[in-house]
Amino acid sequence: MSEIQNYTAPRTLEEAADVLRAGNVTIFAGGTDVMPQMKTGKLKLQPTLMNIRHIPELRGITQAGGTVRIGALTTMTELLNSELVRERFNALWQACDHFASDQLRNAGTIGGNICNASPAGDTLVPLLVLDANVVLTGKPNGAVTTRTMALKDFFVAPGRTRREASELLIAVEMPLPPADSISEFFKFGTRPALDISTIAIGLAALREGKTLRDVRIAFGSVAPTPIRAPQTEAAIEGKPLDDATIETAVAAAARDIHPISDVRASDWYRRELIHNILQRMLVHVRDR
């Protein structure tokens, strides 16, 4: 374990940006990823440890016009208790409901789940299908600047994102889906609680009779990062959701994914799961 030379808990976003600008910072909020990764040596601590929990700008779920903004410090429990999330972002609510345990939902934050960038991160698949953007703030040249990036462009590799070392992820923003839209999430694991997903599937679309439009599908734990599934989406987009379309879609899904074999499942089993569970989800959407 490397030595921490400086601990800081800034009270404003600007102070945090100054700390980041000085460089060599490990950021934490809930600590549920940083602490175990620090103990196992997976995470090499930087000389400065920054606690971002006291920055009020990172809190709250707000709606302005057609956009919903979720502050980076929002915990899984807060998302579960949000009426707005439950009613309009079902896939995200479902993912939070299947997230670890009560103790971890009380501590873990959405910003942390995103920045940890696990291919199995529970909220990432729903956020991808809900067209989420991440909001990043930094002070690289002495002035506070903020940029927004589509979440689908944010992940680079397991544990790696396009966040610059001088930046802080302050929020995630999503367009408020029309009332007639659907969003679904399914996580497969061996037990209901505290499980890292073997595979996860997110699905969002606008429903027009038996046809789905603006189809968004994402998969977790089947590639180095959570991914959108463009071939699967194209197979469903604007077509009547009949058996033939569903068959084409699950065949396309096999081309969108690149699973590996690890302790949780083999490559073959993950492919089987994606095929069978995506099929089940699509049938469920069609027959509802």
Binding site: A9, G31, L49, S101, N106
Partner: protein
């Protein structure tokens, strides 16, 4: 040596101060600095719930919480819980129903049970099972634990 942090927090209703290494967990601080060993260390990675404490009214795994992050917060451990009517009711029930064998998971389970009953006073058995899903018991098979929580005196919550 790593840098230390001066913190001030409330522990079981009493204001306290501590100086802790920046990388220390809240669990290590409670056990090794404060000397309250009711909160248990087991897995050290948030899988088992033996180290469950309440922070600002929410239960967390203290093994995953930085001690430095306790600054300004309100902590309750099993030592504080048992002085409350709900804690006493849970303690009696865990004994009455035989929900304790080795006892190592018991403090964490009682902390989590009290949080569950405060937020869901009329929790049914399924809600109780769901509420304690982050707590492992390797002895009892959970039935007696659920019995003990289901019969707790919710007026005490």
């Amino acid at each position: 040596m790593s840098v230390t942090v001066d913190i001030k927090f409330k522990l079981n209703g009493v204001e306290r101060r501590a100086t802790v290494p920046a990388q220390m967990s809240a669990l290590d601080m409670l056990r090794d600095r404060v000397g309250l060993t009711g909160t248990k260390y087991a897995c050290g990675e948030g899988e088992c719930g033996a180290c469950t404490i309440s922070v600002d009214g929410q239960t967390v795994n203290s093994c995953l919480m930085f001690a430095a992050d306790c600054d300004g917060r309100d902590l309750v451990t099993i030592e504080g819980l048992v002085t409350s009517p709900l804690g006493e009711s849970l303690r009696k029930n865990f004994t009455k129903y035989g929900a304790v064998q080795c006892g190592f998971c018991t403090p964490g389970l009682m902390m989590q049970a009290s949080h569950l009953l405060k937020t869901h006073p009329h929790a049914d058995r399924d809600q109780i099972k769901r509420g304690i899903e982050g707590n492992l018991c390797r002895c009892t098979g959970y039935k007696k634990i659920v019995d003990a929580i289901a019969d707790a005196d919710i007026d005490a919550a």
